[in-house]
């Protein structure tokens, strides 16, 4: 591991300024991904600015009845929060489906959003990887891509975003608060994450010195009737092969509103807007759910070893929406 210096900034503005003016400086949250990447040689920062002591560890009521979650809130505290459990079950379930008890105690909300892909080639510095070393190539397309993207990838990169939490936040229309060199701003998850295209080294639209300070959830509304379902290779403590975050509002047997996001199938938490549009005003039936998700999957570009994800996503989305529709009856 490269040597590095370590600082605890006094406040968020100081943290942003330090990272902005220091080559090779990065923020340190819970460290559950960054420290591992440093051990692997994937990351080699010269300065760690530890933001875990900043006052960003509270969960508060936001205007209009939403919830403002500090970026330093640990995953375990967020999952245990009574308001999250009662009003945003999809988020609590997604958090609890992720990692292990130990890691959830360490991992922060901000760090969870910014974690890197677990693509094997990205994590192995002896292999080419366009995300880690732009222009070096991608062995995944002809190699091990069983758990890589079927949607949103490019010729250069088919890495998947590994977060469970971010899939739920995408479905919930969460707003990300960012403090940067030019002040504070907010963005949706659509605006935070970017598809790889021909620049797969950039996971997000953030500058290096942009600090995520909070995530705001809109008032719960029909998010109260929501669920997260994760499919993985073992029963616990494994990354998703596919996951689904969904919220459904049914009135008189018709879909009045729906939010749908799919995880582990794309370089970003995949908000399935095409499926949502296809469902609005339609009967809340299994057939309708199936044809909606299949419309979303029409854009899928699977490879030999991850083609199974297409029917898997179709089945899991259909099942979750059917369950939500059933419990709404």
């Amino acid at each position: 591991m490269q040597p590095f210096q370590y600082q605890r900034p006094a406040d968020a503005a100081g943290a942003v300024a330090t990272v902005a003016e220091t080559d090779g400086a990065v923020f340190l949250g819970g460290g559950t991904n960054l420290v591992d990447l440093m051990k692997l040689g994937v990351e080699a920062p010269g300065l760690l600015v530890d933001v875990t002591r900043l006052p960003m560890n509270r969960i508060e009521r936001a205007g209009g009845g939403g919830l403002r979650i500090g970026a330093g809130v640990r995953n375990s505290d967020l999952a245990a929060d009574p308001r999250v459990r009662a009003e945003y079950p999809v988020l609590a379930q997604a958090l609890l489906a992720g990692a292990s008890g130990q890691l959830r105690n360490m991992a922060t909300v901000g760090g969870n959003l910014l974690q890197r892909t677990r693509c094997l080639y990205f994590q192995d510095v002896t292999k080419p990887c366009n995300k880690r070393r732009p222009g070096s190539g991608c062995p995944a397309r002809t190699g091990d891509h069983r758990n890589l993207a079927i949607l949103g990838g490019s010729q250069q990169c088919i890495a998947t975003h590994p977060s469970d939490m971010a899939v739920a936040l995408a479905a919930l229309d969460a707003v990300v608060h960012v403090e940067g060199a030019a002040g504070e701003r907010t963005m949706s998850l659509d605006e935070l994450y970017r598809l790889p295209g021909d620049q797969p080294d950039r996971d997000t639209t953030l500058a290096r010195s942009d600090l995520i300070t909070a995530v705001e959830l809109p008032p719960p509304g029909f998010a109260r009737r929501s669920a997260y379902r994760k499919v993985r290779d073992r029963a616990s403590y494994a990354f998703a092969v596919t996951s689904v975050a969904a919220a459904l509002d049914v009135a008189d047997g018709q879909v009045r509103d729906v939010r749908l996001a799919v995880g582990a199938v794309a370089p970003v938490p995949w908000r399935a807007r095409r499926a949502e549009q296809a469902l609005l005003g339609r009967p809340a039936t299994e057939d309708a759910f199936r044809s909606a998700v299949d419309a979303e999957l029409a854009a899928a570009a699977p490879l030999r070893h991850n083609a199974f994800k297409v029917p898997l996503v179709s089945n899991v989305v259909t099942a979750v929406l059917s369950q939500l529709a059933g419990s709404a009856a």
Partner: protein, 195 residues
């Protein structure tokens, strides 16, 4: 005014509170809490298995919460109260109830994962007493789209709950059956007052 990148190891004077004792150490910033415990302080109970946060053998309690000490830089653990497996027993040598239960239930074979299992189990009991949910309890209590009415009440542990909550600790000998039994023994005797 960027920092000059140096090949000299950057060091820090780090004050670590471990099992009630204060240690002031000059450490290379790259030193993980696990390496500081084992190599500098000499507490070798915490084990290095994978060193990547995938096995749980390094689990310790940081401010009462279980954490993977291999993924925490010692310099970032400054001022925290750290408890390792060496700090669980009473000063007179009386074993912690979890340690005694692991002995009684023969909840190990080679023993390498055991300190991490026991520290993690101590965390599990505290989390359950605090009413923290798990993937198992959330699925049971809520199901899709149903409100979770259980927030606040202590979580009642059974075998499925223990397996889920302990999934961050691997045992390659496969002693899981007796590990679960040992933890349930302690959960039954100490119940909600644990932690």
């Amino acid at each position: 005014m960027g920092l000059v990148r140096t090949t000299e190891p950057a060091t820090s004077v780090v004050r670590l509170r471990v099992n009630g004792e204060t240690h002031v150490l000059t450490l290379d910033n790259r030193t993980t809490l696990l390496d500081a415990l084992r190599e500098t302080i000499g507490l070798t109970g915490s084990k290095k298995g994978c060193d990547h946060g995938q096995c749980g053998a390094c689990t310790v309690l940081v401010d009462g919460r279980r954490a993977n000490s291999c993924l925490l830089f010692a310099v970032a653990a400054q001022d925290a109260e750290i408890t390792t497996v060496e700090g669980l027993a009473e000063p007179d040598g009386t074993l912690h109830p979890l340690q005694q239960a692991f002995v009684d239930r023969d909840a190990l074979q080679c023993g390498y994962c055991t300190p991490g299992q026991i520290c993690s189990a101590a965390g599990v009991l505290a989390e359950a007493a605090a009413g923290w949910p798990s993937a198992v309890s959330a699925a049971r209590r809520t199901g899709p789209g149903v409100l979770d009415a259980g927030a606040g009440a202590p979580a009642v542990l059974d075998a499925a709950e223990v397996r889920e909550r302990m999934s961050g600790n691997l045992c390659r000998c496969g002693a899981y059956v007796n590990i679960v039994a040992a933890i349930l023994d302690v959960a039954a005797t100490t119940g909600e007052e644990t932690g």
